[in-house]
Structure formats: C-alpha cells, structure tokens
Symmetry: C2
Subunit: 228 residues, 2 copies
Amino acid sequence: MHRTRVRIVEDALDANNTIAAANRADFDRHDVTVLNLMSAPGAGKTSLLERALAEPIDGVRVGVLEGDVQGSLDADRLASLHVPVTQLNTDSGFGGECHLDANMVRSALSELPLAEIDLLVIENVGNLVCPAEFRVGEDARAMVCSVTEGEDKPLKYPLMFRTCELVVVNKLDLLPHLEFDLDTLLHHIDAVNPAAERILASARTGEGVEELRGWLRALAERRVRAPA
Amino acid sequence: MHRTRVRIVEDALDANNTIAAANRADFDRHDVTVLNLMSAPGAGKTSLLERALAEPIDGVRVGVLEGDVQGSLDADRLASLHVPVTQLNTDSGFGGECHLDANMVRSALSELPLAEIDLLVIENVGNLVCPAEFRVGEDARAMVCSVTEGEDKPLKYPLMFRTCELVVVNKLDLLPHLEFDLDTLLHHIDAVNPAAERILASARTGEGVEELRGWLRALAERRVRAPA
C-alpha cells in the first residue's frame, strides 16, 4: 500500500519535470526569464510586487502570472500597474490544488504575452510546502518570509528555504512590535541555505524594494546564478 | 491524463474517509473528543495552545498530537505544559506531506494515551489548503487566522474557513500597527461561513484565551455542534 502510494507520487513528479522542461524551452525560445515566487499565505508577495513594479524597471518588461486557489483578488490589485497580469486558478480539482505545477503553468502559456515581456514573475499559491516540490519551468526561485511568522520557519519548512535563490524577509516595519529576533531567523536560513541571497524589506515603508528591483533586473539579465 | 489524475484523487479521499471513520470509532470507544486545529504557517496555533493549556481546564484532561513536516519544535514548546504531547512528522514522503491525513493519524493511535485524556487537540501542518480536504476522525475543526495575514484570506482559502466550527482571530495586539480592518475580515468570514464561532485573541496578551478555554471545555463536553 505504502509503496504504491510513493510510486504514484514519483510518477507525478517525473511527469511534472518533463512538462517543466517543455515550459522552460518555450520561455527560452521567447528569451523570457522566469521567477517562481512563493511564500506562506499573507506574507506579502503581492504587496511587494505592487511596490517593486510601481515604476518600470530599466530595460526589463515584466509580466505576472497569478496563481490562486480561486478568485482574482491579487490580479485585480496588480491590474493598475500597467504590466500584463494573467490569472490562473487551481480550484478545478477537488478542494483546489495547494500549488502550481508545470502542467497548470503550461495551460496558461497561450494566454501569456511572451513576445512582449523579458521577465515573467509567477506568484505561486500561498503555501510553504508543496510549491517547493514542483518546478514549473522557472529560471530562479524566490520566497517571501514575514517576520510575523516566527523565527522557526526555515527549520520547519526547510525544502522551501533550500530551493530558493533569494529570501525576502518582509514586514520589517513590525519588528518593534514583535517578540522576534531577526538574527535568529537569519541564522536558521544560514543553517538550511547558506547560499541564498537575502533582502530585508517592508512592502509598507518601501525598505528593500529598490534592492528587490535590482535583483529582478539582474535576474532578467541572467546575472543570478542558476538553481542547483 | 487529466481524468486519470482526478480519479486517483477521489480514490485517495474515499480511502481517507474510510480510515477517518475508523479513527473516529476508536476515539469514541475511549470517549475522547478530537479537535483538528489548522492555520497558515506562523499564525499562532502553538502559542495559543501554550496559553490555553498553561493551567488545567476544569474536568478536561487534554492531550496534543503535533503534526509537522519535520522536527519537533512545537512539541518541545508544549512539553512544559504537563499534558501528553505526541509528535507526528509527515516527511517520510518525498518533500514532506503538506497536511495530516487519516492514515497518518491512525499510525499515531497506538502512541496516544487515549485512556488518560478527554480531549485530543491535533495541531495540523501549517497550510490553508490541503488540511481542510482531509478529515482525520475529528469531532470539530478550528482554525487560527492572524490579522497579519490580511483581510482577504477567507475569500482566497474558502474551504478552510467553511469547514471550521471556530475561527480564532489571533495577534490582535498588533492591530494598532497594521493597515488592517477587522470588520472587513469578519465580513469575509460571514460571507463563507456565517455559522462559525469567532474568538478575537492575542496569544501574547492573553486576550481571548479564557474564551478559547471555555470553547475547548464545551467541545470536550460535546456541547459544540457537530460539523456539517
């Protein structure tokens, strides 16, 4: 019984990787760099994008693919940014998939204006577990980690932290009001992924947003190292 | 391909429900009431339990089953409470399961001191999607929703909010420091689950903790209505 279940999972991941490679080939053909952006629910992915994309990034045309279980709240928020936003909902399954997989992203390819963008940001479903297990054809991965979530998250969700090139630590404006030790969080990130870049940020005050824009520009220019 | 995948999922849920019913029968045989406690990562499930269980609840012997992808950080935190705590890790699969299912809970049954407790609190993996899809044999469900996550979560993760008898809104002490409208959140909860009880709480200040203890006592005495 147990062996059967594991085999199904492995098959699913094999199929996912095959489709992710096909997505990647299509993105490469259009010279589009792709970022898979992940976090727990409410960590601030959309708020950071709103700030980072409020002004054009020099020489980089950005597009966004919004993944949500249902609804288009985040896409609606980004609609005013004058970047193309495409909505992808995962709720066609039973209670809604908790992550984007390569096939879901593939189903959105024809809706994406690949010829008109240089960088595609895929905002994944808010979840610290499964999104890390499914490549979707991205060049790099970034995650947002809010200081309101506690210092222990890298130890409790190590795969997510381990597979990202960048960890954005968000909501720094709340630090004075929390019992939260930033050094402890950074130490825990070191423990699971010492190579990850970090940006200390606050979508509310704008702290770190210029740094994030610089990182996105470097990614679009393929100056961010490829994932391991 | 798509139809095959859906059929596997439905089979998995059928099997899950069968095992959940078996768990429920075992809990009933020991006259143990079971709460499935869920939330996003870092919403404060463990902190609320630390506060709520710091003192014995009149006439209710409580036990805790801690579900985590890996590690025992939360169980360690609860170890000082003089309630029996059992750790269940989900990382025997590929990257770690993002939820507890009935079979995982069943595998822990022999480790649980069912004869010595009246109420079992199962702290699920931090995730707003999949835990809501898998019954584990519980009598009731509660979720913790932190005000730092934004007002939109009931609309983005409706199944989770819809299947809970109780929504604990946590971290109320941070309200003065957030751009967050509590009425909007409560309105959104009303929209997806008007019947849910709500407790406004702060694990840090203790606000709402006595109310939560009262709810747990009512649950153990089977005075909370059964899930739909």
